[in-house]
Amino acid sequence: MQTNFTTKQLQNPEIAIANNILRTCVHCGMCTATCPTFVTLGDELDSPRGRIYLIKDMLEHDRPASEEEVLHMDRCLSCLSCMTTCPSGVDYMHLVDHARVHINETYKRPLTDRLLRDVLAQILPYPKRMRAALNLARLGKPFASLLPGQSMLVKRLRAMLNLAPVKMPVAQSLGGTVHKAIGETKGRVALLAGCAQQAIGPSINTATIELLNRLGIEVVIPAAAGCCGALVHHMGRHEEALQAARRNVAAWSDGPEFDAIIVNTSGCGTVLKDYGFMLRDDAMAAKAAAVSAKSLDISEYLLKIYQPSQVAPAITVAYHAACSLQHGQKITSAPKTLLRKAGFNVVEPKDPHLCCGSAGTYNIMQPDIAASLRRRKLDSLKAKSPDVIAAGNIGCLTQLAGDNVPTVHMVELLNWMAGGNKPEALNGVNK
C-alpha cells in the first residue's frame, strides 16, 4: 500500500518501522473477517484494515490522535487474530503498539477515563494492592446490578465488580522462592509468577510448580521479577512498560543461566517474547533478546517432557484457545496434544479464532463488546457439552467463569493426571 511520509519523517526510526509495516499491507481485507470487533460491530473502522488506515493517516499527518481514532483503537482487543489471517505478513502488533503510544502522548482522555486507567495501572500489576482491591470489590459485588444508569463509567464499574471472585483464594507470594525438583534434577527454569494471577488464581502457579518439580525441573522465582508490563504496554504507557521489561530482564539474567523462562499466562508470554523488540535500542538489548528467546509458554515446555501417571476419568474438556497463545505466539496444537496425552476427551468450539473478550483490561474498558464476545464464546463452547473449559490464560478463565461450566487452567488438569490434586473447580464434576 502506498504511504506518504516525508524523508524527514522517515528519519525517525519509529516512523521508519511503521512505514515498513504499512507498506507490507496490500489492503486485501482478509483480516476483517476474523476480527472480533468487525464481526460484532460491522464497521470498517473497527476492523484491522480500517485501524491500519486510521493509523497511517494519523502518523502521515503527524497530528494528535482524535477522539474517533482513539475510540476505534481502544476497541481493538489486540487479540492479533488478524496476524494469523494476514497473507502478507503485516506486523499489526507493533503498528498498533506504536499507535497506542502516539495516543498516550498526544490525546487527553476525559477525566473519568484517565482516573480509571491510572487506578488499573496502579493496582493490577501489584499482587498485594490487587488483593486489597478485590476484597473491596467483593463487598460491592452484590450491588453491581444496582448501579444506576448506562453511562460508560457505570458499565465499567459494574464489569469490574462482576469480575471479582465470589470467594477470595488464599494469598500467594512467590517472589524469591526456589522449588527443588523431586528426584533427579533434569532442568532448571524461571517462572513468571504473574501479578493478578497470584491474587486471583494462585492454584495455577501451584500446579505449575508441582508439575514441573514432579517432572524433575527446579523452579525459581527471582525476587526482583514482577509484572511483565503488558497492562501498561497496551495502554500505550511506553516508559512504564519498558521499566517493567528492564526489571524482569535483569532479574532473569542474573546468576546461573536458566534453561527457560516459563510463562503460564499466555497474555504475558506474548509480551516477554517481545522484550527483544521493545528494548532493541536499549543498553540491555542483547539480554532482552536472550530473555525473549528463552521465554516459553508452559505448554511448549511440557510438550517434550510431560507424562501422566494415572488414567483420566471420562471428562470432556473444551479447549478455549487464548488469543495470546494462538495468535500472539502461534501455539495452537501443544495444549490440545497435552490434554489428550493426559487422557481427556478434548473438544473445540466453532470459530476458535475469535476472542472471548477478556483481553487484559478490555472487559473493564469495553464492557459492551466484551460481554457480547463472552456470550458468543460461551455459547459456542457449551454447544460441545463439555464438563470443563480449559485455557492457558487467567484472563480468559476469569472472563468465561460464572456460567455453570467450570473453568480451569490446563496445567491444573495436567498436574492432576501426573499425581497432583484434583483442581478445586472440578469438585462438582464426578466422573
Binding site: C28, T32, G42, S88, K350
Partner: protein, 477 residues
C-alpha cells in the same frame, strides 16, 4: 482516474445531508466526519482513492429503503459496498456520494436442506454460508479466493467465480432469488427459491451488474451436498508453456477436474512462504489439480491425470494424502494475492479470460511485455477456464512505477481481447477497466448497456463513473 464531476449543490449541502441521513437512520449508522471517513476512501484496489461525502451502515432492509428514498429525493449518488475486497475498485467512492455499507446485514435467515437453498443477507461472508451448512455436509459452491472476507452481496454484484467453478459454475449459476432496492426506494423481488423463473432473466442481468441497478438486501443461494471426499495433486513443470499445454491435454481428454489452478515461479515462492504447503520451489510452473469422489474414485481419476501429466515431463508430482495437506495447498492458493505482498510492496491484479488453447501464446507474450516494462509479473490463475490473474508488481510510492503498471495491465487485457477473450472473468470492470470497455464493445453495444442502466436508474445515481466509459455518457443518459 477520471471521475464524473461532483455535483456542487450536493457538496455544498453536506452538513444538511448528513443531518438528514441521521434523521432517517440510527445515529450509529451514519459516519460523516473526515477522520472516520478516511478508511472508506478505497477498497481492495488501494491504488485508487476518493473520500466519500458520507458512509451509512444500515442494519435492515427498511433502513436501506429509507436511505435510497432520501438519496433519490435529493439527487445524491450512492455507492454500494460489501466487505470492500473488490480488486477492480467496485466500491470506490465519489466525492459527492454516500457509501452504503452492507456489513451489518450479516444474518443467515433460512436454511432448507430438502429444497437445497439458503436465504442470507448481503453482508454474510461467502465462507459463512458454507460454514452454516457444513455440519450437514452441504456447501455453497462459488469460492472466490477472498471467500473468507468477501460478502455475498459483493459476490452477486460482481458475479464472482473461484477455483471450483470449473465444475460448479460461478455465482450466477448458484443463485435462486434476490431482493433489490431500486434507486427510487422500491423493493423488487427477483426469482425465489425455485430454479427457473418466467419472464426476463432479471436474476441473470442483476448478477454481475456491479451495483448499477440497485442495492441488494437479500440473496437466496443454492446449497449443494458435498462429495464424499476431495484430493488435490501438485504437478510442477519446467516452463509455463509446458504447463499450459498440459492443461489443454487434460481438458481435451474428457476429464473435468473440480479445480485446475496454475502458478508460476514467483507465485509459487510467495505462496509457499505464507502457507508452507510443500509447493515445488524448483518448478517454473505449478498446476494444482483437484478431484472429488470416494477414495477409489479419486485414486482412479488422479491416476488418469498423472498419466497425462507424465507426458509433459513434470519436475515433480505429489498427491496430497490428508485433509490437512489439501487445506495447506488451498490456503496457499487462496492467500496468493496477499502473499505477493511479501515479495512486492504493491501489485495490480489483472483478470482477463482467454480461450485455453491460447495459454502458452499469451504467457509468452506477457513475459515479453514484462521485460519491456521492467516490471515483474506473477501469474496465478484458473487454468481450466482460461481466467488469468497476472499480478503486476510495482511500487506505489513511485509514481512512474504505478503508471507503468497501469499501462502494462492495459496491454495484457487488450491482448486477452485480441486472442478472443475478455477484459474480466470474475473481478468486474469497476473503475479499473472502465476505460478499456471500448476495446471489447462497440459504441452501439455500450449504448445498449447504458440504456438498460437508465431503465433502472434514470438519473445515474447508482455507482456512477464505473463500468461504462465516461465519454459518450451523455448520449445515453
Amino acid at each position: 482516474m477520471l471521475q464524473s464531476k461532483p455535483k456542487l449543490n450536493v457538496l455544498e449541502k453536506r452538513a444538511e445531508i448528513i443531518a438528514g441521513l441521521k434523521a432517517v437512520l440510527p445515529e450509529r449508522a451514519v459516519i460523516g466526519d473526515d477522520v472516520s471517513l478516511k478508511p472508506y476512501e478505497t477498497d481492495g484496489l488501494s491504488a485508487y482513492r476518493q473520500m466519500p461525502l458520507a458512509v451509512v451502515l444500515p442494519e435492515n432492509e427498511a433502513q436501506v429503503v429509507a436511505v435510497m428514498k432520501f438519496c433519490h429525493l435529493h439527487g445524491i449518488r450512492v455507492i454500494p459496498r460489501g466487505a470492500g475486497t473488490s480488486l477492480s475498485g467496485g466500491a470506490l467512492p465519489l466525492a459527492d456520494a454516500v457509501v452504503v455499507g452492507m456489513m451489518r446485514m450479516n444474518q443467515i435467515l433460512d436454511i432448507n436442506y430438502a429444497d437445497r437453498y439458503a436465504v442470507v443477507q448481503p453482508g454474510v461472508t461467502n465462507i459463512a454460508i458454507t460454514q452454516a451448512v457444513q455440519d450437514e455436509q452441504f456447501f455453497y459452491a462459488p469460492d472466490p479466493s477472498s471467500q473468507l472476507a468477501c460478502m455475498i452481496g459483493g459476490n452477486v454484484s460482481m458475479n464472482s467465480g473461484g477455483a471450483h467453478c470449473l465444475k460448479y459454475g460461478v455465482t450466477a449459476n448458484n443463485l435462486l432469488g434476490l431482493r433489490l432496492v431500486t434507486i427510487e426506494g422500491e423493493l423488487l423481488e427477483i426469482g425465489g427459491k425455485h430454479m427457473d423463473t418466467a419472464g426476463y432473466d432479471w436474476l441473470g442481468l442483476i448478477t454481475g451488474s456491479e451495483g448499477q441497478l440497485g442495492v441488494l438486501t437479500e440473496v437466496t443461494v443454492r446449497i449443494l451436498r458435498g462429495p464424499e471426499g476431495a484430493r488435490a495433486m501438485l504437478a510442477g513443470f519446467a516452463s509455463n508453456e509446458v504447463a499450459g499445454a498440459c492443461v489443454d491435454a487434460i481438458i481435451s481428454s474428457g476429464i473435468i477436474p473440480v479445480a485446475l489452478e496454475f502458478m508460476d515461479k514467483l507465485a509459487i515462492h510467495a505462496c509457499e512462504a505464507f502457507a508452507h504447503a510443500g509447493y515445488p520451489l524448483d518448478a517454473e510452473a505449478l498446476l494444482i489439480i483437484e478431484v472429488e469422489g470416494s477414495d477409489t474414485e479419486q485414486t482412479e481419476m488422479l491416476a488418469r491425470i498423472r498419466d497425462i501429466c507424465a507426458v509433459y515431463n513434470p519436475v515433480s508430482m505429489r498427491v496430497s494424502q490428508t485433509a490437512e495437506e489439501s487445506a495447506a495447498i488451498w490456503k496457499g492458493r487462496k492467500g496468493a494475492f496477499g502473499a505477493v505482498g511479501r515479495i512486492s510492496p504493491d501489485y495490480l491484479c489483472m483478470d482477463g479470460t482467454i480461450p485455453t488453447s491460447q495459454l502458452p501464446n499469451v504467457l509468452k507474450r506477457m513475459q515479453a511485455m514484462s521485460d519491456d516494462y521492467g516490471l515483474k509479473v506473477a501469474n496465478i490463475f484458473h487454468a481450466g477456464d482460461g481466467n488469468l490473474h497476472p499480478l503486476i508488481m510495482f511500487d506505489a510510492n513511485d509514481v512512474e512505477s504505478f503508471h507503468k503498471a497501469e499501462a502494462f495491465g492495459a496491454d495484457i487485457l487488450k491482448l486477452c481481447v485480441e486472442v478472443g477473450g475478455c477484459l474480466t472473468g470474475e473481478h468486474g470492470v469497476g473503475i479499473e477497466k472502465r476505460d478499456l470497455m471500448s476495446v471489447q464493445f462497440t459504441p452501439a453495444e455500450l449504448d445498449q448497456q447504458r440504456r438498460i442502466k437508465t431503465a433502472f436508474d434514470p438519473d445515474w445515481l447508482l455507482n456512477p463513473s464505473k463500468v461504462f466509459p465516461l465519454s459518450g455518457l451523455s448520449a445515453a443518459a
